[in-house]
């Protein structure tokens, strides 16, 4: 395996790692913030969200290393983050 070829083929690994670590963490965090917006006072819901968040992060990592293109990996992470963020924003607006 030549050096240049290795570098070229290994690029997806680091991209996947970034998606798994940062993308997964972002998704888990967006989930907790959304949970907190569901009820007032927020403490209990935030705690419940945190308890579940690790399962979400693990699922995101598994997804990031599944045999789909890196573009699809990112779509699978960014779309739920966007949906959760919009839902959080809407809930906060509605509560005032």
């Amino acid at each position: 395996m030549s050096g240049a070829k290795t570098a070229k083929r290994s690029a997806p690994f680091f991209q996947r790692l970034v998606a798994a670590v940062l993308g997964g963490y972002l998704l888990a965090s967006a989930w907790i913030v959304f949970c907190g917006a569901l009820s007032q006072p927020a403490a209990e819901a935030v705690l419940a969200g945190m308890q579940i968040s690790f399962a979400i992060h693990v699922a995101a990592i598994i997804w990031s290393f599944s045999p789909v293109s890196i573009a699809r990996v990112w779509v699978g992470l960014v779309v739920p983050v966007a949906l959760l963020s919009v839902a959080t924003w809407a809930l906060m607006q509605w509560r005032g």
Binding site: R9, P12, F13, R16, A30, A42, M50, I62, I70
Partner: protein
């Protein structure tokens, strides 16, 4: 395994079929974290028996404890004890912002202790005589043999003695463990069949079977222990929710916990008011929560806004049956005697999530279930450690037979690195752990920061074992480090006899099962290590049934 040989350490990510991609993830995620996870798991397993290890490591207290067991001390009544505690605090710590009295054990006997926050907001303690209420000995005087005892294993297994940085490192490793478990389950589609399969004396195949067997048998335990370990420190690892809804300041975090746990401490009013007689509060508190009193906490003593909390003792039978380890509590206003809050034993002050948090903490630290469950956790913990060890060894056994070239030209060097890490992480850590117990008997008693020296020995032995493993050939390194482990383990009772005069047999005769247990487990470990060397030194023709047959099977 279905992995293709040309899959490299980096290039195999997300390639092939679904199972193949996750076989790659399992191999590499498992390998890079296996050494750290083995250390966390093994020390966490030892932490289950934190108290017996501490007991063994403080031999100066053995005679005291035996004397206490054999003849109960003359003891004062509860009301007398409370009065002595309050008198002591009024006289010596009037300005402290919190008083805490531990009047007696659940039977109304035992020690009388008082605690308070000193001027630096540090927790301070004193012990009072139960005969006349005088301060019998300064409870924070340096102990004879400065040691962290078994608590070293507790601290190490969740923060590596490195504070928040260590907590994050262990947290990341725990998340990686969950990933390795999930990808491992995906990889092994014949998970049920694999569990009943063990092909002995077949080299690589046997390592794989052993790895599968311990993993499948303890899978629920491992998911549980890694997940609850993460959840215990959830607000450190996943701060986004608190930050978004409360803020990032320390006061915001306090607001978050106050909202779940308690109405929060009242602010001091500035109006002076003497602390009232505690006995009526204690008697009412005991009635409200249905438990004997364990501790009485006075917030803002001497102020009109003072609050008195009465906490209960969980009796052994009920704490064996309850997953949530909280005790009962009743909170009163000192001025009016009004009941502010009542918590029944096992309940929590908040809602379902708070209760779940308490239960997860209980599941991880196993305060319930008594000795039988501690042994179950110990066994499962050892099997979890074995899963990581066999996984790491399997990685190399597989590549000793067939060079897979995942790292291009430097593959041989990386393999050598991994071989050394395997030896030091598995055998070397064992040497470090038993060496810690040796240090407890051999480090001079008077030395300053003695407890740090003991932990220093632990880390030094571990570092030396890595150096040794890289200097020696893998086979010799395994043999020598396992040999040292066996020697230190088997000779532990002899060391104890020479340094303190205690003997394993007399420990048993005197009913000191904690010390006998520590030495017994050490001796068994030593015998197993010696057996492993013997097994390793047998010629390959005895160790393996037929190398050729195995090679055929492996290549399939």
């Amino acid at each position: 395994m279905s992995e293709k040989p040309e899959q490299g350490a980096l290039t195999g990510a997300g390639t092939g079929g679904f199972r193949q991609a996750h076989s790659w993830l399992h191999t590499w995620c498992g390998l890079w974290f296996s050494w750290l996870l083995f250390a966390v798991f093994l020390t966490g397993t030892l932490a289950v028996f934190e108290e017996p290890i501490t007991h063994w490591m403080t031999p100066e207290h053995h005679a005291e404890e035996a004397a206490e067991r054999s003849k109960p001390q003359p003891t004062a009544s509860l009301s007398q004890r409370l009065a002595w505690g309050i008198d002591y605090m009024r006289e010596h710590h009037l300005s402290a912002s919190m008083w805490e009295l531990w009047p007696a054990d659940a039977q109304g006997a035992g020690d009388l202790r008082v605690y308070w926050f000193d001027s630096n907001r540090q927790y301070a303690a004193a012990q009072l005589s139960t005969a006349d209420g005088s301060p019998s000995q300064p409870a924070n005087a340096p102990p004879v043999r400065g040691t962290q005892g078994g608590h070293h294993f507790v601290t190490f297994h969740y923060e590596l003695h490195a504070g928040t940085v260590g907590l994050w490192i262990v947290g990341i490793a725990a998340l990686a463990m969950l990933v390795a478990l999930v990808s491992g389950v995906i990889t092994h589609k014949r998970i049920f069949k694999d569990f009943f399969t063990f092909r002995a004396k077949k080299g690589q195949r046997s390592w794989l079977d052993a790895h599968n067997a311990v993993a499948v048998l303890t899978l629920p335990f491992q998911f549980m222990i890694a997940y609850t370990g993460l959840a215990i420190s959830a607000s450190t690892f996943m701060p986004a929710g608190i930050a978004a809804h409360y803020g990032t300041q320390a006061a915001d975090k306090e607001r978050f916990s106050a909202e779940m746990n308690e109405p929060g401490k009242p602010a001091p009013s500035g109006k002076p008011m003497a602390v009232p007689d505690l006995e009526p509060f204690v008697l009412r508190g005991q009635q409200l929560m249905g438990q004997p009193v364990r501790a009485v906490v006075v917030d803002h003593p001497g102020d009109a806004a003072a609050r008195i909390g009465v906490y209960g003792w969980n009796d052994e039978a009920s704490s064996k049956q309850r997953l949530s380890p909280t005790s009962g509590m009743a909170m009163f206003s000192a001025a009016t005697g009004e009941v502010l809050q009542v918590r029944l034993p096992g309940a929590t002050d908040g809602g379902n999530a708070t209760l779940a948090q308490s239960v997860m903490g209980g599941l991880h630290m196993v305060p319930f279930g008594g000795l039988a469950l501690k042994w179950l956790y110990f066994t499962c913990g050892l099997m979890g450690s074995a899963m990581m060890a066999t996984g790491a060894i399997l990685f190399m056994v597989k590549r000793r037979n067939k060079h897979l070239g995942e790292f291009g030209a430097s593959t041989a060097r990386v393999y050598r690195l991994i071989e050394g890490l395997n030896v030091a992480a598995i055998a070397g850590l064992g040497v470090a752990c038993i060496g810690y117990l040796w240090a407890n008997r051999l480090v001079p008693l008077g030395i300053a920061h003695r407890d740090d020296w003991e932990i220093g020995v632990f880390f030094a032995l571990w570092a030396l074992s890595l150096l040794h493993a890289w200097c020696r050939q893998p086979k010799a390194a395994w043999r020598e480090q396992l040999g040292l482990l066996a020697l230190l383990c088997v000779l532990l009772p002899a060391l104890n006899w020479m340094t303190t005069g205690e003997m394993l047999l007399t420990q048993m005769l005197h009913g000191d099962w904690e010390s006998a247990g520590v030495e017994g487990v050490a001796v068994i470990t030593g015998v197993l290590a010696a057996w492993a060397i013997r097994w390793q030194m047998r010629p390959a023709s005895v160790r393996l049934k037929s190398p050729k047959a195995v090679a055929v099977e492996v290549s399939q």
